[in-house]
């Protein structure tokens, strides 16, 4: 049955591709292109503006807010790292993002596999328990969390931020992995276990490699979420820590009231990793996100 569908699809797709190459330009299509491009320019304008301003000085910005930079050099970028502890904040953000993702990539697929294969009512129970996490916003539990970390001596450490991210990612992660593991044929695992492999080895050597597509989609979307997060580090890190990039920029807004150019510069720097991640994994972004969400 599924083979015939696949065959039908491949038959269908060939003429579609051939058609695509010969497809003529239509007026309506060009209109759509122009409208899309204009909308992009409007929505992206604040970022372009911040980028241009990051090359100007404070007096230039305030005398003529709409002026163009007179010279392009990296003075503001150098000053940002010299005059503030932006470097420490950047390192913190990198550590939080990388460590959280590394831990999640180990414990989350295992947990989802366990939830799917434990069988019976327990499967349903654990699944619903994790999914319930999707409906509990961080705001609902942040006050007891701060109290708990304070008592454990973890408050204002990176470990606190990492733990909160780990717990928060569980709901969506289980949803995504479980919907994928359902499609993994159990026969493969049975064959491996007949060959004498233990459950743990079966999982890491047989099942985990099959989960790589969903793992990459998960990593990419969550890397951006963790990198861009503002609220959790704001609550979990006080002034004894350099904070994350966003927290550091937020503090600068309060402290350096007369240094707009540094804030624009910080904003642009924080965008660079996002754009690199996106450029590197663009294909996964546009496919992976749609697959994960529609299945949920």
């Amino acid at each position: 049955m599924s083979a015939s569908i696949a065959a039908a699809k491949s038959v269908n797709s060939k003429p579609a591709k051939a058609k695509k190459q010969k497809e003529p330009w239509k007026v309506s299509e060009i209109v759509c292109m122009v409208v899309t491009a204009i909308l992009f320019c409007i929505v992206a304008y604040p970022v372009f503006y911040a980028f241009l301003q990051s090359f100007r000085s404070y007096s230039e910005i305030t005398i003529d807010p709409m002026g163009m930079p007179t010279h392009y050099n990296l003075d503001n970028y150098v000053r940002l790292f010299q005059e503030t502890d932006f470097l420490a904040a950047t390192m913190n953000t990198v550590i939080i993002t990388v460590v959280t993702l590394a831990i999640l990539c180990v414990i989350l697929p295992m947990a989802a596999y366990g939830v799917e294969r434990i069988g019976g009512k327990l499967s349903g129970f654990f699944y619903l328990l994790f999914i319930a996490g999707l409906m509990i916003p961080f705001q609902v539990r942040m006050i007891p969390l701060v109290r708990m970390f304070d008592m454990m001596g973890l408050y204002s450490t990176l470990a606190a931020v990492i733990l909160v991210h780990l717990g928060g990612a569980a709901g969506f992660g289980i949803l995504l992995y479980c919907s994928f593991i359902k499609g993994v044929p159990i026969e493969v695992e049975e064959a491996a276990s007949i060959d004498g492999a233990g459950k743990l080895r079966t999982f890491w050597q047989v099942v985990f490699p099959m989960l790589l597509p969903v793992t990459s989609a998960f990593i990419i979307t969550n890397a951006l979420t963790f990198w861009n997060d503002f609220f959790i580090p704001l609550v979990m890190l006080d002034s004894t820590s350099a904070g994350t990039i966003n927290v550091a920029i937020n503090r600068m807004v309060g402290l350096l009231t007369s240094q707009w150019e540094l804030i624009y510069t910080g904003a642009i720097i924080s965008l660079i990793p996002s754009i690199i991640i996106f450029a590197a994994f663009q294909r996964y972004f546009i496919k992976g996100m749609a697959v994960g969400a529609v299945k949920g």
Binding site: Y127, R147, W260
Partner: protein, 321 residues
């Protein structure tokens, strides 16, 4: 989310009825060992999840009945005083109103924008990858960074917006955009909806491209106009992604915080506070963590009820369609 229930129905293997008693007992011993093994697979994530999500949520309920200030180690139980104070407080209802305007308003507007963008992208056949990329790019900018840039662009004296208006000769339009209590909530709504949709657009687009072309062509042959094709053919086929997108946007909408914290700080006065911001201010700015917990419990109830209702309503619509 509701499709998840089907997992519970996964049949467990009970096909060894005819086996001898001895064999079936060894089988179940193996099975039992496997189940324990699976439980150990779940354990690490489960421990973190319980410690970070479930237990603190329950503690929130406990703290909501106390006068905990967020710093001192002890607190007293005060019964339902916190809840009583909240529902009689104008500041709380103002926060609820703003949350409804910003949450539901942005969920609705962002979904309309995303659908329009998806329809535009669906008609672009040349360089489609390029156009998808530029539509997605703005969503790489986090709410925090976008708000920070806007905060300066909307500055009354030196901001880009007012200076454009002055240059264009529209002196009358110059406003203190974030300081005028009459318009500040609507300015915030505009800024939250200043997007091309990102993921939401991509989900609509992938659904649009799965609509069978034959249906659209058949309707066109029958003389349906462009709008009629959309209304009666495409729109019903989109029901699934509308449910997903609207539910996700709504969950995000209930906890709008970054924009408020950066742009207005809840001001002027308390005019632009949302519930998430209200809880944050009470817990960490005004040292009334017990009171804040009560607000948090109410927020959770609202999130849960609206999520279940929108899901129920929209799933029902899907079946009809």
């Amino acid at each position: 989310m509701s499709t998840s229930l089907s997992v519970a129905a996964t049949p467990s293997k009970t096909s060894h009825k005819s086996d001898s008693a001895a064999k079936s007992s060894t089988m179940s011993a193996v099975q039992r060992r496997n189940r324990w093994m699976m439980f150990f697979f779940i354990l690490p994530m489960l421990v973190v999840f319980l410690a970070i999500v479930i237990i603190p949520s329950l503690q929130s309920i406990q703290l909501s009945f106390t006068d905990y200030d967020g710093i001192s180690p002890t607190y007293n139980y005060v019964g339902v005083d916190n809840y009583h104070e909240i529902i009689t407080s104008g500041r709380f209802w103002n926060a609820v109103k703003n949350t409804l305007i910003l949450g539901i308003g942005s969920a609705f507007i962002i979904n309309v924008i995303s659908l329009v963008m998806a329809l535009l992208l669906d008609r672009i056949h040349h360089f489609s990858g390029f156009f998808r990329t530029i539509v997605y790019l703005p969503s790489l900018v986090s709410a925090f960074i976008a708000s920070t840039i806007w905060k300066y662009m909307l500055n009354y004296n030196f901001g880009a917006v007012n200076s454009i208006l002055k240059k264009a000769g529209l002196e009358g339009w110059v406003h203190d955009w974030l300081g005028d209590s009459h318009i500040v909530v609507w300015v915030l709504l505009f800024l939250i909806c200043f997007t091309l949709g990102g993921n939401t657009t991509l989900i609509y687009l992938s659904n649009l491209q799965s609509v069978p072309q034959e249906l659209v062509e058949a309707a066109e042959v029958d003389g349906a106009s462009g709008w009629q094709v959309f209304r009666h053919v495409t729109w019903p086929m989109l029901a699934g992604s509308v449910t997903v997108n609207f539910t996700l946007s709504l969950i995000g909408g209930w906890v709008i915080f970054d924009q408020i914290q950066v742009l207005t700080g809840g001001g002027p006065g308390f005019v632009s506070e949302t519930m998430a911001f209200f809880i944050y201010r009470l817990g960490f700015g005004e040292y009334r963590a017990g009171f804040g917990s009560a607000a948090a419990v109410l927020l959770f109830i609202i999130v849960m009820i609206t999520t279940v209702i929108t899901n129920k309503y929209m799933r029902g619509r899907e079946i009809q369609a």
